[in-house]
Symmetry: D2
Subunit: 276 residues, 4 copies
């Protein structure tokens, strides 16, 4: 239920709530000092693909499986995702592997369907200020992962989260995925200082997506390690069993064995950083 009156401090702020927000997903908690690894393909393509990647993610110690059923694509002629069929595949893979799943919702029309299948609901960068979608997410009882818009300031990002909290859903995970700058070597510029900024201003957990930020597989491990060292609560990383033939974002997807190796390294850095 939406707030009738404006709170003294924004609901997302540390001034409103001092202690870190911790979100429970199955046996795992996100935020408050843990390290969450989310892995999976950009797009759900087939049962075999998702099953294979789900096993890999679980074996690598990942806690959440990602996979896109509804895909926001720049061109109307690009592959738009498998939609409802994709959701079913993802849920099946999650159930069978015993691993929670996250997927993106692009519209209020699809929200109910996504809400039934997903353990965490993602709102993408392009919808960060789709205020109707944010309000609908605020009425859900599932955790929401809210990506930062491509040119959103940290203030705007927290305000977008505020739309969700103001409707009654306090389970929000923020996800930085690169901002748009003049530099073109990488797809976007990963703004890791956003981790510190968000953790100073807000009690919400923050996750980093180095795959979309860089658009280059060879940069993902270093940026993932940097994110953990900077204090991120987790990573969302694209993993594909056959990147060369992926329908979407192959060049930035790790192979399962690369993800497994990286996961180990991230846990070591997390341990060092947390023991300081």
């Amino acid at each position: 239920m939406a707030l009738d009156i404006q709170p003294v401090h924004p609901l997302t702020s540390r001034a409103h709530k001092k202690e870190d927000t911790v979100i429970r997903i199955g046996n795992h908690t996100i935020g408050g000092g843990t390290l969450t690894l989310i892995g999976g393909p950009c797009s759900i393509e087939s049962v075999d693909q998702v099953m294979s990647v789900a096993d890999s993610v679980k074996n690598a110690g990942g806690q959440v499986l990602r996979g896109g059923a509804f895909k926001p694509r720049t061109s109307p002629y690009s592959f738009q995702g498998l939609g409802g069929d994709g959701l079913k595949i993802l849920k099946k893979a999650g159930d069978k592997t015993g691993i929670p799943v996250i997927t993106e919702v692009m519209s209020t029309e699809d929200f109910d369907e996504v809400e039934k299948s997903a353990d965490i609901i993602q709102i993408g960068a392009r919808n960060m200020q789709n205020f109707h979608l944010l309000k609908r997410a605020g009425m859900s009882r599932k955790p929401i992962l809210l990506k930062r818009g491509l040119s959103a300031t940290i203030d705007e990002w927290l305000n977008a989260a505020e739309y969700i909290l103001a409707e009654g859903n306090s389970q929000v995970i923020l996800c930085e995925r690169g901002i748009r700058t003049f530099e073109n070597y990488t797809r976007n510029t990963l703004d890791l200082s956003a981790i510190v900024a968000v953790k100073t201003l807000s009690h919400l957990p923050v996750i980093i997506d180095p795959s979309h930020a860089t658009g280059r597989r060879e940069m993902v491990p270093a940026m993932a390690k940097a994110a953990v060292a900077a204090g991120a609560d987790g990573l969302m990383i694209e993993v594909h069993n056959d990147p060369e033939n992926a329908l979407c974002d192959g060049p930035q997807s790790l192979r399962p064995e690369e993800f497994e190796k990286l996961a180990k390294e991230l846990r070591k850095i997390h341990e060092v950083v947390n023991n300081d």
Copy 2:
């Protein structure tokens, strides 16, 4: 009806359609060499306000009245617009003054209602890649004014328009309203070279919004003149009868007499530029 197959050239491209798209609104045409002036308040606040501004816009030779009923606001605690009541006020003002009206739609849920009241339907910068909203707009028979996203490339902007055309609505007006850069003297940086780029790549008309781009009333006239000189098909300008007490964007709104003076100057420049 959506296309089943991808066209050889994008529907928005000059390669697909050589001659300028011209859009008829009442007795006026947008595109193809005319100058279209759209004026009105950021937000619809009251019957008196809108009626007063509508008269001013018409007297100044403006062809379209703008007014926001559904307002996209960064914070959930800011004034969100009068919604359906605002639409009624706008329609009434348009009917009484005999001037077509444009207003923003923020969601597919509100689309039918907006479509009934508005002569032109606006999709705002924050929704430029709200693909469901674009598809719904593509099924409408009303012209759509599509604002460029805050950090959208020209290519992405044209692709967003392509979503609308691909669904069967070829009446799309593009609107540049400033992009996000490091410069903070202005709210955004008005990219007037986008006019030439769009007119080279596409047959669609392009309109400039200097009010949102600069965020400063004293800069609006110069930027409006520059837009006409650069070949824009029109301007969308915020006009308010009492900017000091406006609920939204007062500092960037022209007073009626300023709009009238500017309209005259713009017509002169348009004449000079078109006679070259």
Copy 3:
């Protein structure tokens, strides 16, 4: 001579000097309501080339001839300009045609030599915060054209000019040449709102360089017209007698006949804008 104490208001500010700064070059004045057209090649290549373009610029009604002798190039292996030999060619062309010349100085070492040959001395975008060069320019008695840095704020740009004025040279012309943004259709994004900002904050004249800003010949005329409509004091435009074989920036150079046509159109727009 440098100031011993900080002035109450910056020397570049309107608060310090209310009336527009007007700079006399031969029989022409820059600033204060006139329109100044500067044309010429990116690089000085040969006597014939410069003579040919000098005649074209003069015939088109241009008041100043530009030509680069010392060229700032991203790569050390690119053509670096003819240096001192280039200066001689430029001066000869200016003397013969009776048209003042402007050329860029890249270092304090070359300053004396450039100062002797040029009527206006240009400091390029990459040297906008080369403070030693600015101080040397402040000790010159020749007018200085100071380009805005690629990512310089208006405040930083005016502060760079302040370095020149603080050393005693009040003849500074500001030149906007595009800023760096995420958009890649154009080389840079021409920020025409800088004209209004500078004229509000400062008494110095401001000139626009649409050639470097856009990097595309076909965009230069529209952007030049827009600049005049926005209130610019002049334009600096690349003109080449044989753009296809230019050693530098051919794709953005106008041919002489294109420059002549544009010059006429600019004067018409200038007249309309100034009569308002």
Copy 4:
């Protein structure tokens, strides 16, 4: 001595030289797997200040002392540094503590003097494309630390380094210090992906300056750790014995005890990352 002909591959590229460039400073080597910590005040203010900080840097395990004698300042009325007197203080502190020193050179005129006092010579962000200064640096036999320009692409940065190598000085250290974006929470946006990009494209060592990038003391430790985790060869961090009374950049300077604590943490992360 400058190259007469262009090399097949740029001298800065991995294609030209496969193995990492390693630079010897006293007993320490920069690059090739070591971790270099450079600490010290933004500006040299007094003998006592520099001596005190030099001791702190050394005790914390830092290998190089930084301190600015010639300061590039946006406004001509800001403190410009102690100049030659500052150099003497820095050299004295370095000699007494037995720690090498780095300081910025802003012009070719001051180069000889700086070269005599400094063990590493810094070229600042605003001078990254001051090509005369780069050429002079290329003739030096001292290592050069070249900061990335505020809006320089990685390609431009490597080309700036190429100017130095082309003149015969192969001892170049690259330093990322934040790029200019729309985000204003931090002074600039630290681009840590530049570490991976540079190490892929080039054999030169790369150092990160989190102090200037963020402009906020509380963000420096997290960003420094992230830089090490991402593979940086070192850090340059502002340290001041009395930040509240610093003449320059106090709010971003660490206190000596903070620097010491951070240095320990950085070494731990470096060890973990290097053992992977």
